[in-house]
C-alpha cells in the first residue's frame, strides 16, 4: 500500500514526531511504500540540521535522516511553515538575506499543493498531530 505521512510535531518537544518516524519505519519494513513525508506546522523543525542531542539520547531528526537516505524517500517541508519558524534552505536564506541556512539538503521546500497532491496519490494519508 502507498502511504503519505503528515508530521506536525517538532522533535523532542513531544513524542509525536518520534511516533511518526516509528510508524514510517514499520510500514517500510512491512513492504509498503511511502509516497511523501510532509513536514508541516512545528514538524518543519525535523528538517533542521542544527539540532544537537546528547550522545546518550536518540535524535529523531537523525533517525529521519537515516530512513530518508536509506529508502530515498520524498521528504518535504511546507515553505510557509518553515520560513515562519526559521527553517531555511540556502535559496531562501539568500532570498531573505539571512546569514545561514539550516534545512538538510535532502528536504525539498514545497507549497501546500504538494500536500493535497500527496493525498490524491496515496492509498493512505496518516497525520501525526503536534
Amino acid at each position: 500500500m502507498n502511504f503519505s505521512v503528515v508530521i506536525l510535531g517538532a522533535p523532542y518537544s513531544s513524542q509525536s514526531a518520534a511516533t511518526a518516524y516509528r510508524f514510517t519505519e514499520a510500514l517500510l519494513a512491512k513492504g509498503h511504500s511511502v509516497y511523501r513525508l510532509f513536514f508541516y506546522h512545528d514538524g518543519v523543525h525535523n528538517g533542521s540540521e542544527l539540532a544537537v542531542s546528547p550522545q546518550d539520547e536518540t535524535s529523531t531528526a537523525e533517525c529521519w535522516h537515516q530512513l530518508i537516505a536509506d529508502y530515498q524517500l520524498d521528504a518535504v517541508v511546507c515553505i510557509a511553515s518553515a520560513l515562519r519558524r526559521g527553517v531555511l534552505n540556502s535559496d531562501e536564506a539568500v532570498r531573505y538575506d539571512k546569514g545561514c541556512a539550516n534545512l538538510r539538503s535532502y528536504f525539498a521546500v514545497v507549497g501546500l499543493g504538494d500536500l493535497v497532491e500527496a493525498a490524491q496519490q496515496s492509498d493512505r494519508l496518516i497525520t501525526f498531530g503536534p
Binding site: H41, L112, V116, A119, Q120, Q121, S122, G129
Partner: protein
C-alpha cells in the same frame, strides 16, 4: 480484462475526496490557522473537500473575534473565505456546540449541524482525513 481509457486511468489514480477535521481553538497556537490554509489551498485546487468543525474547533466559527487584541489576523475572516475558494461543504458537530454553550445562531458562516450519527458517517465514508 478491458483496457482503460486515459481518462479512466487518471481517475483511478485519484484516491477519493478529502475530509478536513478542525479540532482546535482559533488562537493560542497556530494549528487552526495552518489547517485553514490547507483547506484554502485544497479548495483553490478544486479538490472535493468537506470540513468538519468539532471539539474546540467550533470556537473557530464564533462571531465577534477580536484578533487584533492579540496582534493576530482574524481567523473568522479567513474561514469566511472558504466558500469563495469553492469549499462550501462545512459541517459542525452539534454536541461540541452544546458542551460549550454556543448557540448555533452565534455561528456566522453557513454550516450544516450534524448529530453524532451523521458525524460518524462522515468519518466512515471518507477515504482521506486530515486533522488539525
Amino acid at each position: 480484462m478491458t483496457s482503460m481509457t486515459t481518462a479512466e486511468a487518471e481517475d483511478s489514480e485519484i484516491k477519493g475526496s478529502l475530509l478536513m477535521v478542525f479540532r482546535h481553538a482559533p488562537y493560542g497556537r497556530s494549528l487552526a490557522r495552518e489547517g485553514l490554509e490547507v483547506a484554502l489551498a485544497a479548495g483553490a485546487m478544486g479538490v472535493e473537500l468537506r470540513v468538519l468543525f468539532i471539539n474546540d474547533g467550533v470556537w473557530q466559527l464564533l462571531a465577534g473575534q477580536q484578533a487584533d487584541r492579540l496582534s493576530l489576523k482574524n481567523h473568522l475572516a479567513m474561514a469566511s473565505a472558504l466558500p469563495l475558494y469553492g469549499v462550501d461543504k462545512l459541517f459542525v458537530d452539534t454536541a461540541s456546540l452544546l458542551e460549550r454553550n454556543i448557540e448555533p445562531a452565534g455561528l456566522t458562516i453557513p454550516v450544516a449541524l450534524l448529530n453524532e450519527l451523521e458525524v460518524r458517517s462522515l468519518f466512515a465514508t471518507d477515504g482521506h482525513i486530515l486533522s488539525f
